[in-house]
């Protein structure tokens, strides 16, 4: 029997989800997809991350090859123009005609552009597709002031996009008297406004635009109250309009205000034609979120495979991070007294607003609003959806249990098995717990692969983590992230314990917090913690240092060492170059330029190290800490001093930064870079911290990495001045030093961090943990206690004595070390 053909019109998120669900459930259909956009389905929810370092590929929902692998024919850049319902055929723009048995319309929506005079002017944009973003990006380079029309969810996302583009003076214009009128109340809006104001956004409420000024391109917004706002760029985000024109043309029933009318089976007025997502109108409502769209996709797949699942509306609760501020709205957020009782918590100091509405008998949670801190969202939503009976003090739900003994994780496990945890993928608690118990899944990545939970909006990830941990605990298999068999603590925990105990010696740390005699794992970890806290001379406890730190040089093949003096920013005088040449020649050292703009001298006997350093220090050099888990080098381009493109003096700034953080020990090595313009010759985005000059200041990127798993650094702050940048760097580095696991580079640290970049940004820029002053002070202590380790050694006869190979024949060098000639230099033979 011939397989029935289903044609999918639209390759957005919901159209893609339909295909994904259908191929996993049945192989009995020919699937043909037509997409209007030139690229295959991508994540529109996280669109603004496109300006934050993510590429179009990163945003893709699948590999391009996925369609072919699953037997799906994909026609991109080719919208369907006409449906012939009598012949059951569709005709595309490219002139292709196909016969269908079933047709699925997933045409999505288009930005609604109000009919204001002047919307056609240059510099007026909408915000929906990657193409829109690319247009905005190329226009924004010269823009100083931008505005978004619309203070709803999408409008604020668009405002974030403008800020990410480097437009520091960004305005939001809203017609209603409050922001996000569909999600939050007036008090919540006031709190959100003040948070957004702190972040540099200017909010205008109760403003209706009369016309857009400018000759050919926009130069101002004129309002009905006769006020004027001069701007260079406008993004219109005044709502969405369902793409129902194809349906209308084919005679399908549409709503008076747009939208393709569907029934509970998602069938249109033609039973062989379905409509899902933002183009579908169910009982007079358009569902403009991704989760209900996915649910609709599931309904159609269910119908086609002889199921009987129906759509009866969808919970529109949402939680999101808007420009770094948590905003959530769930259940019935707007119900007011006397129909309910309302509990409100407001903290204008921290910018937190929480409101919950409970039933008049005090037994059920009906809904609520969270601004500034939405950690409780998942739990509250579950409480509403599962009609969980409230505790006697429901205020604990938003205030946390005060003085009580109950731990936070306990709440999650008390949910019923059918509680929906991941609403994007419809995964319930039972499925997640079963994956842990039956399949041994213990990581969030494993859970994503196994159940798809957390792969949609990602909002449920904390809840999924709690469930994994809770189930493991219930099964008696709780695993802790400990340092080694001698210490039952994570590095961060031990860091705090050592700090509180004011301990400065490894053996005392081991006596207090560990057991046994230690090992090659915990010794360097504790050494790193002690350095991060007290910054004492590491050779005082040389036998707990890792291989290279033990002799303040990098051990190389044959047991020889290499020597790297610091050359800050890669700038060096001819005289110093001559000194390096002279020293290398005298001690028969092989020289090579390193990847970090310094000079490495290889092949030194351990006995010679103090003498070599004595000569280098005499000439004004310092240790380069190439041997340490510490700052290596801050690479720089030539900068404005010589380069005709340079915007700022990148070399001077690189030197300043390298001098500031030199010698500070960290969980792993640290590298930095400063580029004088966007050409990025210093490759700063591949470094742990990268600084790139802009017209107005510097952009700061963090957590990049070269190495085996290269990763681009991500934008932490834009257009900041030198002092702000150094302040942020102090906080960032100290936060890393205190919290990262052993031997974890900043990139991996960030990848493992709950909440990722937005969390880090909140901690470092917005001081969400209230620890920034402390971080800055701690960093200042480390900076103040800097010493050149090699200078200390050469000045101390006792320390110098340790640099011998044979303690019973200090003058004798290791005879096992042999050298041979290669390209006019010596190399180790072994």
């Amino acid at each position: 029997m011939k397989k029935p053909t289903i044609i999918v019109v639209g390759n957005g998120m919901v159209g893609y989800k339909f295909c994904e669900k259908l191929v996993t459930r049945s192989s009995d259909f020919n699937i043909i997809v037509f997409g209007e956009e030139p690229r295959h389905a991508y994540d529109r929810v996280h669109l603004s991350e496109y300006f934050n370092g993510k590429s179009a590929d990163d945003l893709s929902l699948s590999a391009f090859s996925w369609y072919e692998e699953n037997g799906i024919k994909l026609h991109l850049g080719d919208p369907i123009q006409e449906i012939n319902r009598l012949d059951k055929t569709v005709h595309s723009l490219a002139g292709i005609t196909f016969k269908y048995d079933y047709l699925l319309l997933a045409t999505g929506s288009a930005p609604f552009v109000p009919n204001i005079p002047g919307v056609e002017k240059d510099g007026v944009f909408v915000y929906r597709t990657i193409e829109d973003l690319e247009l905005m990006k190329s226009y924004a380079s010269t823009v100083k002031t931008g505005a978004v029309m619309g203070g709803g969810l999408l409008g604020l996302e668009a405002a974030k996009a403008l800020m990410d583009l480097g437009i520091t003076n960004t305005h939001v214009i809203e017609f209603a008297p409050r922001l996000m009128p569909r999600q939050i109340d007036s008090a919540g809006s006031i709190m959100l406004q003040s948070k957004l104001k702190e972040l540099g956004l200017t909010i205008h409420l109760n403003k209706s635009t009369s016309h857009i000024g400018g000759e050919h391109k926009i130069d101002a917004l004129h309002f009905n109250d006769e006020s004027v706002l001069a701007i260079d760029m406008l993004v219109i985000s005044a709502g969405i309009r369902p793409r129902d024109e194809l349906a209308k043309l084919s005679g399908l029933q549409v709503g008076t205000r747009g939208g393709i009318m569907v029934n509970e089976k998602m069938q249109t007025s033609d039973e062989d034609i379905y409509a899902i997502g933002e183009c579908a109108l169910y009982e007079g409502m358009i569902y403009g979120l991704v989760a209900p769209g996915y649910e609709m996709a599931d309904i159609v797949v269910n119908q086609l495979t002889n199921g009987s699942k129906m759509f009866y509306g969808y919970d529109m609760s949402t939680k999101l991070k808007l420009i770094g501020v948590d905003v959530a709205s769930f259940g019935d957020a707007f119900i007011t007294e006397p129909d309910c009782r309302t509990i409100v918590f407001e903290d204008t100091h921290k910018g937190v607003y929480k409101r919950i509405n409970i039933s008049t008998d005090g037994k059920q949670l009906l809904g609520g609003i969270l601004i500034g801190d939405a950690d409780a969202y998942n739990m509250l939503l579950q409480t509403v959806n599962n009609k969980i009976v409230l505790p006697p003090n429901p205020e604990d739900l938003i205030l946390g249990s005060r003085g009580g003994a109950e731990s936070e994780g306990a709440g999650v496990m008390s949910l019923p098995d059918e509680a929906l945890i991941c609403s994007c993928e419809a995964v319930n608690k039972g499925a997640i717990c079963a994956s842990v118990t039956d399949l041994g899944i213990t990581t969030i990545d494993g859970m994503k692969k196994c159940t798809k939970a957390g792969t949609g909006c990602g909002g449920c990830v904390p809840l999924v983590k709690d469930l994994i941990a809770g189930t493991m605990k219930a099964n008696g298999q709780y695993i802790k992230n400990i340092i080694c068999e001698h210490f039952d603590y994570s590095r961060q925990e031990l860091f705090d314990l050592v700090k509180i105990g004011q301990i400065k010696n490894y053996d005392v740390v081991l006596d207090h917090f560990g057991k046994g005699d230690g090992c090659e794992v915990c010794k360097p970890v504790v050494a790193s913690i002690l350095s991060g806290l007290w910054n004492e001379l590491i050779v005082k406890q040389d036998t707990i240092q890792d291989s290279n730190d033990r002799f303040l040089a990098n051990i190389q093949k044959g047991g020889s060492y290499s020597v790297v003096p610091r050359i800050p920013g890669g700038e060096i005088t001819p005289d110093k170059l001559i000194v390096i040449g002279t020293v290398a020649k005298k001690y028969k050292l092989y020289t090579k330029i390193t990847g970090g703009q310094r000079i490495d001298m290889f092949g030194a006997h351990v006995n010679d190290l103090p003498a070599i350093w004595e000569e280098l220090i005499e000439a004004g050099f310092e240790s380069g800490h190439a041997y340490g888990k510490s700052l290596r080098t801050v690479k720089s381009c030539v900068g404005s001093t010589w380069c005709r493109f340079g915007l700022h003096d990148s070399v001077t700034f690189a030197i300043e930064i390298e001098e500031r953080y030199k010698g500070i020990r960290s969980p792993h090595k640290l590298k930095g870079g400063v580029s004088g313009c966007v050409r990025e010759c210093a490759e700063a985005q591949a470094k742990d911290f990268g600084i790139i000059a802009t017209e107005k200041g510097w952009n700061l990127y963090v957590c990049g990495n070269g190495g085996s798993k290269p990763q681009h650094a991500q934008l932490l702050a834009t257009d900041i001045d030198n002092n702000t940048l150094i302040k942020y760097l102090d906080r960032f580095l100290m936060f890393y030093i205190k919290t990262a696991d052993p031997l974890t580079r900043t990139a991996t640290w960030l990848n493992k961090m709950d909440g990722g970049m937005s969390y880090l940004k909140n901690v470092v820029v917005n001081d969400s943990l209230g620890i920034c002053t402390q971080l800055e002070e701690e960093m200042q202590t480390l900076i103040n206690t800097y010493h050149c380790e090699w200078k200390e050694v050469i000045d101390s006869p006792a320390l110098r004595k340790r640099f011998t190979h044979f303690v019973n024949a200090p003058e004798e060098k290791d005879p096992a070390m042999q050298f041979e000639t290669m390209r006019e230099q010596l190399k180790a033979k072994w």
Partner: protein
């Protein structure tokens, strides 16, 4: 029944303060490179060959010492690739194919003596 006794020659290797606390140092005796470990935490001394058999590097004396397991087996980690060897019997704890030679060692009056079989 024949009784064999092994005669051990004790040779002065170095002084106790030549070897860092909870660490190692290398001596040259009879043209052999020997790593001596001052396990201060346990009040014990150990001696092994200085050569790490993994990549034939003369470096074991520069390794970190410690212990492992229920019985606190004393061990040294090679600074090159972190293979660990038992200080009491020379067995490699991370690679069954490797082992190192151990030597008797004693500390008397601030002096360290290494024992060689006669």
């Amino acid at each position: 029944m024949e009784i064999t006794t092994t005669q051990i020659d004790w040779i002065l290797a170095c002084y106790t303060d030549d070897v860092p606390v909870n660490g190692g140092a290398c001596v040259k005796l009879k043209d052999e490179q020997i790593a001596i470990f001052n396990f201060t935490r346990r009040g014990e001394w150990y001696a092994t060959q200085n050569l790490c058999p993994h990549k034939q590097q003369m470096v074991l004396s520069r390794g970190m010492i410690g212990s492992t397991g229920e019985n606190c087996e004393p061990k040294v980690a090679c600074p090159f690739h972190k293979n660990t060897f038992s200080l009491s019997n020379g067995n490699c704890l991370t690679n069954d194919e490797l082992f190192i030679k151990t030597y008797p060692v004693k500390a008397i009056d601030g002096k360290i003596y290494i024992g060689f079989n006669h």
